[in-house]
Amino acid sequence: MTEAPHTVKSYEEELKNLNSNIIKMGGFCEKSLGNAIQAITTRNSDNAESVIKDDEKIDKFETLIEQQVVNLIALRQPMAIDLRETVTALKISSDLERIGDLAKNISKRTLLLNENLPKNLVDAIIRVSSDVQKQLKSILDAYLERSSAMAINVWESDEQIDDLTNFCMQEVIKYLKENEKNLSDGTHLLFVTKNIERIGDHTTNIAEQVYYLVKGEYLEGDRPKGTEPIVTGEK
């Protein structure tokens, strides 16, 4: 729903600015995740370094958004849709910041891995990560378009990511069992896989926020879950 502009133009500008900062921050996260996956699957250290460096930008966006939200609440006392815009911006920025951190962690581990990883592991990582990347893109589009239907799609797709994560984990465990020398790389790969899955979870969090933003109601019901995670035992 396109809203009519506010009578007070500066207030309108502040809300637009907040919105555009979320979009920009989301764009940086997309880029970082893309680079992090590129780095680990093509063994590209430069990409990994740039992800580590860019995390600072993402962190700064979170601080900026937090300040904007506090200012809006203190000085404008937003109501209804404006209140939801303000509150969800705060929560979404926090999820995006975590996505940035997880991409950075993947890249740090990438720099510690051996040059040659077995192809089946690389393929498994590509499969789960490409789904997560799509999720992130979709949820940022949903936010931009204020689409609760797109948000629900993202929310429901988390199940598939869980399944692909478990498959990837199983592959890594097999690799670990093959040879004691695989212990270091295999452990890093377990964390990498878990990080990718966590990024998926954050996109699901954002989906819940987008739904609330648009509808003013919370998404009801349990989150869709895939097969039980085999390594962490988390539910």
């Binding site: 729903m1 809203e3 009519a4 506010h6 937003p78 109501m79 209804a80 209140l83 509808k215 003013g216």
Partner: protein
């Protein structure tokens, strides 16, 4: 529980219609805020509830307002008794040009509520205590009410309103002439008073409506656009006009 039920209320000032088919239920022992832009009819509606519109010659009210299952627009309704049951506090504090004591005792005297001076003293003290003014004025009860500060005068008017034990208190922008501290005192008072009274407040301050009320009604151009829990109205209103008004997108 519903305390006041208004059904199909139309109000006309001469040929001009000010309210259109208002159907609004007011819950007992809760605060209901009426919001909306100037001229939307919220004060006109408030004035229907104790038939204050009777004093305006050209004003005609159609429809039913049931209070305790009694239609106050019925010919048999005793307006003096009605206003005993439904008190009113106005925008500008309007104490009588009399002493603080007499301001309070005036209503109970008219309604024959006290048999002795002791009983009247008690009514005055209780009313002032309920209006959170007793501490400040107990030593100068026989000084003019008009000598008090604006906030104190408004609390005196509230004390005067509650002295006759009304079931409902109507407040028409009671804080618009007050500073933030006096406003906070009145808001705290409203919160206390709702235990014993049903309160309906007209306010231009949406923040105040959000702070003090449990239910809110939004009026626009003489129509009741939306009515519901204050929580819902300010977080997720159903009507776009309500949303545009409370978020400052009007006009």
């Amino acid at each position: 529980m519903i305390k006041i039920s208004s059904k199909n209320i139309d109000v006309f000032y001469g040929k001009k219609q000010a309210l259109f088919n208002i159907n609004l239920d007011i819950e007992e022992n809760q605060v209901t805020a009426l919001i909306g832009p100037s001229g939307c009819g919220k004060s006109t509606f408030l004035r229907c509830l104790n038939r204050m519109n009777d004093v305006i010659d050209i004003c005609r009210v159609k429809g039913q307002i049931m209070i305790n299952d009694f239609d106050i627009n019925d010919k048999s309704c005793d307006v003096v008794r009605l206003r005993e049951k439904i008190g009113m506090v106005f925008q500008k504090p309007n104490p009588f040009p009399k002493t603080i004591y007499e301001n309070i005792s005036y209503g109970p005297t008219i309604h024959g509520m006290a048999q002795s001076k002791n009983e009247m003293d008690e009514i005055v003290e209780t009313s002032l205590k309920k209006a959170a003014l007793w501490e400040e004025v107990q030593d100068r009860l026989h000084e003019p009410g008009t000598g008090l500060s604006g906030g104190q005068q408004q609390r005196l008017c509230i004390a005067r309103a509650i002295s006759v034990k009304p079931e409902v208190i109507l407040m028409d922008e009671p804080c618009s002439a007050l500073d933030p501290i006096a406003t906070a005192q009145i808001e705290e008072l409203i919160d206390e008073l709702k235990k014993d009274h049903t309160i309906i407040i007209v306010t231009h301050s949406m923040a105040q409506a959000a702070r003090v009320s449990q239910n809110t009604g939004f009026f626009h151009l003489g129509e009741l656009i939306e009515h519901g829990s204050t929580d819902k109205i300010f977080k997720n209103p159903e009507n776009k006009k309500t949303q545009d008004y409370i978020t400052g997108r009007f006009g």
